[in-house]
Subunit: 359 residues, 2 copies
């Protein structure tokens, strides 16, 4: 337990350092909102505002402000609020639209729209959390006042969660021995490379989401299946035996993936792995899970963390050398690292509290 | 010139070996058409038929059959014909559609459509060349009999060529010192990383296309601009001084690109470079261009060619090690290598003939 205690301190300090990096480099005092395209030293190499990362950074700041006493700093809430207002002013490609742009110019003019709905999802995530942190429901409304979350469980939302969980489980294939990135709408394996594609990071992320759900529902069967198939599985088949680290993509039959970036080691699957291992440990305490967590934490801090300028590198070559020196870009901002550190700090607290009660 | 003579033989032999690889491994005797997803040893790892690569392989086989006496083998034309008929039967997503699918199942059922028009373009390219090779205009028609190319220059087609050349030249920016992948419709530099993105391979490919045009038109100014800006330029700023080879993407201001695959060395930019250098040499004979060609040819054959199983690797890491062991996939098939070898063989012939006349 001593090692876990040390990691709790290390993770708490890293969370402070990471948030400080984004506070120092990413704020736009002129227009509000956040720059995410930051070079290794934090300087802005592109002032495009990517909407996924606006919503996500609003979420991080608001959640920290609301739930972690040492982050209850007015300037953190103020930055989230300014970004929330920037989104509310500019994110719709035209007035009254229910769509959100994918990228905005620095001053808010819409630049690009995506076909998928992730921009909308991350706006909703960020603004909802901002509404809770600020205690002002106006941020929680994306346009429809009927959708203000009621305090009672919402049957429509619960049905969506149920639908989501069922669809995640469809990706567990071949007797739960693999997690396939793409399956048919009926949950059948698709032909060819597309059907055999695996993404260990997505599997691990899905793993801890289902573990949260199984905890909330007291559904032990779901939890056990998630630990075996979505946490221990991807850590086994997704790990590079030669250089260590989780591959970005793999082929379930061992062919070479056709994705050019398949062998890169990305920061976020490793962040998700840390969360997934502690979520598994909370449900099924086992020394094996603790030692995997310690190993993963050491690997991740050694390889991704930048002790010189702060924050984590996002993209390493297979051998662990840095492939892209940027700290942020169109898809990396203030989100996965901070969220993982926050969740690990919380879960390590729970695990250590229980141990202290036993002792 | 002795070295050029040696390279002409080596390139001619390599062209034979490369075509033999695709004849041995990529034909589908059952349904017609070509598999492009081939592992290192040529075995099929996915039987999806990618339409870009159907059209391109039809072009290669037909062009070789029509223009190179030693490739005038009936079985080559027969394979192209079977693939052409496969496309004519299956490529339209629905009857009467003017669109072509992006990917078909092995038996021809449409699987995916793309928004861009490259599937249609490569179908037209392949079927047109098949029509010339077979001497049967029916292959040249994609549906509209009025579009059968007349023997007189077609003013509409010439206007399109003019439009294309003008738009290629818009990508030469900053006093022709860089070639930007994306510019505004008016030819202005775009803001941010998107605007600064460079792709040396595309620049080199555009370079030899404009050199062909300048030759056809006797436009020496266009030729000189293409040699300086689109051949010598990208070979200077696109070359990796540390490990050699052309980067896939770069940022015109020296920032780290946001493309995860930016530092990979791909086969096709190197194939385009060989063509571009000889096209430049034909226009502006200079020892410097010859020595660059010899160096590029040696690098390319050393790094990309697979002496064990034939064909070229497509994707190397920055340091030159193999990143993807596949010989073909959704975007690599029987096209760039064979086309470059064919064009280099022809151009080396021209260059050496002229030298012999001088001697």
């Amino acid at each position: 337990m001593e090692q876990l205690r040390e990691w709790r301190s290390r993770i708490a300090a890293e969370l402070e350092a990471v948030v400080a990096f984004w506070e120092r480099h990413s704020h736009d005092p002129e227009h509000g909102g956040f720059f995410s395209c930051l070079s290794r030293d934090g300087s802005v190499y592109d002032d495009t505002k990517f909407v996924w990362l606006q919503g996500r950074q609003i979420w991080v700041y608001s959640r920290l402000y609301r739930t972690v006493p040492r982050f209850r700093r007015p300037e953190l809430l103020e930055a989230a609020r300014k970004a929330g207002e920037f989104l509310q002013r500019h994110v719709r490609p035209e007035p009254g639209s229910t769509r959100a742009a994918f990228a905005l110019r620095r001053d808010g003019r819409p630049e690009r729209l995506q076909r998928s709905f992730y921009s909308e999802a991350f706006c909703a995530l960020g603004l909802d959390e901002l509404g809770r942190a600020a205690g002002e429901p106006r941020y929680r409304l994306l346009g429809d006042p009927k959708r203000d979350p009621p305090s009672e469980p919402d049957p429509e939302a619960e049905a969506m969660v149920e639908w989501g969980a069922r669809h995640v489980l469809m990706h567990l294939q071949r007797g739960d021995s693999v997690v396939l990135e793409n399956v048919s709408p009926e949950g059948e394996e698709l032909p060819g490379s597309l059907g055999r594609l695996m993404n260990p990071g997505h599997a691990l992320e899905a793993g801890w989401l289902l573990l949260e759900l199984s905890g909330r529902r007291g559904d032990a069967d779901l939890g056990a299946r998630a630990v075996a198939g979505l946490v221990e599985g991807p850590l086994r088949w997704g790990w590079d035996p030669q250089h260590g680290g989780l591959f970005y993509f793999l082929d379930a039959d061992g062919h070479c993936p056709t994705q050019l970036e398949w062998s890169l080691k990305l920061w976020w699957p490793h962040a998700e792995a840390l969360v997934a291992l502690l979520a598994a440990q909370r449900l099924q305490p086992r020394p094996e899970l603790i030692s995997r967590f310690l190993h993963m934490a050491q690997f991740t801090f050694d390889k991704f963390r930048d002790p010189e300028h702060g924050e984590w590198f996002g993209y390493l070559n297979r051998d662990g050398s840095v492939a892209l020196s940027i700290k942020g870009g169109p898809y990396k901002g203030c989100f996965h690292v901070a969220r993982a550190l926050l969740m690990c700090e919380e879960m390590l607290g729970d695990i250590l509290d229980k141990e202290e009660i036993k002792e």
